[in-house]
């Protein structure tokens, strides 16, 4: 097993421990019927993620340094996004459906799906399992707007950061010579966006911010390999307890 795979396995095991730590209390209150609907969906979503991670660990240990073919964990990750979306839908109190928000979600995730297809060549699963992200992002945008979580200036700033990253990723994909020049800004902007979302998540403890942090850490994981994948995975692991804490705040607010 190579060093990078070993580090990946260790980080996944750490994430499994974090997932178990959040699933146990959420599951217990769910079985006692003493919780909110968003927490019920969160518990199921994290259960799916746990199984997916266990599958990864088993695969990496049994077949190290080989690319995983199409397997069941893709369903688990897709179900996780569906569960999280269903939870957000229950928390959303927004009647407005603004056209540009759904168009933006569609184009933004569509561009990501296009990149995934170029990187992996697995176009069927990238399209099928990428579609739930469109709905998820749409709910996040609506939630952040309706709750006034972020000032307008910060909203524009974060959109510009992620659009610049997308454009740079496409440039890096099609022009070999520019690769080194574009890679550093991609890394800097992606992780600056993640750090900003993490700070916001810690400060606000709002479900829509923490769920956004989780989604963008997943997108960052899909965008990088080796070292930066591991860094994005650490961010993803940090996002899980933050989501759990935001759910507790949501419950207190509803009561």
């Amino acid at each position: 097993m190579s060093d990078s795979t070993l580090i990946g396995v260790i980080l996944t095991i750490v994430q499994v421990i974090v997932l178990v730590a959040v699933i146990l209390p959420t599951g217990r209150s769910m079985l006692r019927r003493n919780t909110t609907l968003i927490a019920v969906f969160f518990c199921f979503a994290m259960g799916c993620y746990l199984f997916s991670n266990l599958y990864w660990v088993a695969y990496d240990c049994l077949r190290p340094d080989t690319r995983m073919p199409f397997a069941v964990n893709e369903f688990a990750e897709c179900a996780m996004i569906l569960f999280l979306s269903a939870g957000l839908e229950k928390a959303l109190r927004d009647e407005k459906k603004i056209a540009w928000e759904i168009i933006f979600s569609f184009l933004f995730i569509g561009a990501h799906i296009t990149l995934w297809i170029f990187w992996s060549g697995e176009w069927v699963q990238d399209i099928v399992f990428g579609i739930p992200y469109i709905f998820y992002l749409w709910l996040l945008i609506r939630g952040i707007r309706s709750r006034n979580i972020l000032p307008k200036r910060e909203q524009i700033c974060i959109v510009l950061i992620h659009l610049t990253v997308l454009v740079l990723e496409f440039i890096a994909l099609f022009s070999e010579e520019l690769n080194d020049a574009t890679y550093i800004p991609i890394v800097v902007l992606t992780f600056a966006g993640l750090i900003w979302l993490m700070i916001r998540s810690i400060k606000d403890k709002d479900v829509f911010t923490t769920y956004a942090f989780f989604m963008f850490s997943v997108l960052a994981m899909y965008s990088f390999g080796d070292l930066f994948y591991d860094v994005a995975m650490v961010a993803n692991t940090v996002a899980i307890p933050l989501m759990y804490l935001s759910l507790k705040k949501e419950r207190d607010k509803e009561r």
């Binding site: 079985l31 019920v40 199921f44 240990c61 069941v72 369903f75 688990a76 179900a79 569960f83």
Partner: protein, 214 residues
Amino acid sequence: MIYAENVLICIAVPLVISLLFTKRSTRRFIVSFMTGMIVCLLSAYISGYLAISTGYGTEDTSIFLSPIVEEIMKFLPVLFCFFVFEPSPEDLKPTAVGVGAGFATFENCCFILSSGASHLGFVMIRGLAVGVMHLVTMMAFILGLRLLKDYKVISFAGIIGALSMAMTFHGLYNLLVSESGISSYIGYALPMLFALLLYLIDYKPFSGDDEEIV
């Protein structure tokens, strides 16, 4: 080579006859059991087709694709029952258990006929691991559905989620037992551990506690 269709007919005929002498829940269980066996045969056809069309090979198909096909096929009759007859959670459980048990029984019969049953230890592992695994995935699915129904949030996301959990569990088992050594021991123990866990948490959400959901 075995003729799985002939094995199915041989096992199903006495069960069909027994339907004449049984009523209600027993009859429902027998029908579910036979459905499970038929579904197992259909899953084998589909997996065989996928193995050829995708070029995955026999071992990779059984590890990566069969869990998806088998779990979807097992859940279709239960979902049909759930949506069409709208049974109470208590009535749905024997149906799901019947489908799971029928599936596992038929798969074990075919496996034993093709590989032999001379070693009791091996046959016991087969029964306790694979047999229980098919039951556990069905029970987990039913528990998930019942919880979602209890919270009045039955949705597409819920059904896909419960299904994918069962698929991943099945896939994890197949992956672990595909290699000999410690991973296979973990794989063999996994279904029994989960069966125990499901048994422990089974009835808590339906204990009659009518506390308001916030």
